[in-house]
């Protein structure tokens, strides 16, 4: 499809920079992701901007998750996945020669639809990534900072050594968020992070996103227009284009969230 530049609509409480004045963290060019022969998402040209929340929305099956996962090369884990086109991260194609997915995922974190904490203690869930990536100095304060940013610290500070599975669904998801931001990524991708949660837990996550975007760039996949309206600065609409093989997703519109 064609590249759509974001349209500016005056927002009374948005005193910050407009999107087009910010730099693009991501720029996809002709991105097509197929599983085997069947494309899931086709020819997407989209830019993601710094310190904003960008929502990806569309009907089910239109490849929103596939698109999201192509931003941190998680599709590499699926053997039949094939990626065509470019995904430029600060100008570098993450699918270029010699780019290691490990480095990509270091900068671009992800929170999944179903909370997936490790079968470890709450502390170790957050600390594991830090240890692996060599950010072991001051581990305790890093863990505390991450849990605070995820609005979970007060609830767990007295049971850090307890297992993560003892937490409620909403708490587990915030733990996964803490785990992702502990390693100081540049971008956090969220794949329908609240769809498995109750309304109260959902609103906690949504409130968090307003805070987090000051430090990170956020991309959220959601199927809920109201949620996009609540959290997103920019919304990209995908739709399902039907073909004989089924359907694949294409980008149709990309504006500031109405």
């Amino acid at each position: 499809m064609r590249t759509v530049a974001p349209i500016e609509i005056a927002q009374p409480h948005e005193a910050s920079l407009s999107a087009s004045d910010r730099e693009a963290v991501f720029e996809t060019r002709g991105l097509t992701v197929s599983y085997g022969k069947v494309p899931a998402v086709s020819n997407v040209d989209l830019s993601i901007y710094r310190n904003l929340v960008t929502a990806i929305i569309g009907p089910s099956g239109c490849g929103k998750s596939t698109f999201l996962r192509s931003l941190n090369r998680m599709n590499d884990l699926v053997p039949s996945a094939k990626v065509e086109g470019e995904v430029l991260y600060h100008g570098q194609n993450i699918y270029g020669d010699g780019v290691d997915p490990v480095e990509v995922r270091r900068r671009i974190g992800m929170v999944f639809q179903k909370p997936n904490p490790f079968p470890k203690s709450i502390y170790d869930n957050v600390a594991w990534g830090l240890r692996v990536l060599g950010m072991k100095d001051d581990l305790d304060s890093r863990v505390e900072r991450a849990l605070t940013q995820a609005a979970l610290w007060d609830e767990v500070k007295d049971r850090l050594k307890k297992g993560a599975f003892g937490l409620s669904g909403g708490q587990q998801q915030r733990l996964c968020l803490a785990r992702a931001i502990a390693v100081e990524p540049d971008v956090v991708l969220l794949d329908e992070p609240a769809s498995a949660l109750d309304p109260i837990a959902t609103s906690k996550i949504e409130d968090l996103m307003h805070e987090l975007k000051n430090d990170y760039t956020l991309v959220i996949v959601t199927h809920n227009m109201q949620q996009a309206a609540r959290v997103a600065d920019l919304t990209a609409f995908f739709t399902l284009e039907r073909t004989e093989q089924g359907g694949h997703g294409v980008l149709v519109e990309y504006d500031e969230t109405p």
């Binding site: 600060h90 490990v102 270091r106 990536l133 060599g134």
Partner: protein
Amino acid sequence: MTTDAARFTLAPSRRTKRRKLVNVAMQGLATLAALSAVAVLALVIVSVAQRGAAALNLDFFTKTAATFGESGGGVANALVGSLVLVTLATALALPIGVLIALYVSEFAPPRVADLAQLVLDVLNGLPSIIIGVFVYGLLVVGSGQAAWKGSFALAIIMLPLVARATQEVLALVPPTLREGALALGASRWRTVLGVVLPTSVGGILTGTVLAVARAAGETAPLLFTTSIVANTVTWDPRQPMLSIPLSIFQLSESPDPADHARAWALALVLLSFILVASLTARTLLARSRRKLER
């Protein structure tokens, strides 16, 4: 833009390079381990094939061992013995194993089923020499060795294998099949006999083939039940009989290289049978599983 590209570079840091090295090294070790296992398999098969093929001839299959001092002769008695021993053992283990599996899968209350499962698992893990000693004490003491007593010992070893294979295939029978029969008014037994068992026959047979392959290779249970034999070919299960593994075991203890050659040849026959049976059973099992899952 340039400063950001530098700050957010995707070029690997020194630490990442080291981590990647460790990753590759670990993958290398795992590959090495797997290839070593395959290499050992190949080594054993090649040894057996090379050394065994040399001693194979017509006499080997048709004659029994030559009297001491003469050359030539064969292992006909061991071949016949294995055939009789394993066939009898299968005749005993197959029906009982299937019955037990039916009980555990279809009729038993959950607690009893768990316990029965545990008993089967423990039986499966018992050293086969203990089973040999048991059958010796039960049947041989006072009345002498006989092939059917050896078969009884082999049957004990085959029993958990047949039962487990049957259970696995019974579990694959879709519940709708059972419900359909019951809804038509059939009793549980008729449902089992008429519907569940026929669907499971393929899996039961292949499980039996695997159990047969196992029994064909067992030596220890036969050591005390059917190893003191006359040097003739006999088909009478009331007489003691040699089996192929027993013969290999005895021949290996002899200092005569001709006996070693015969042992290799027997090993070739045994290994060929077992490998072919195992591979066939596995492919059939996979196929019948796929059929049931459709």
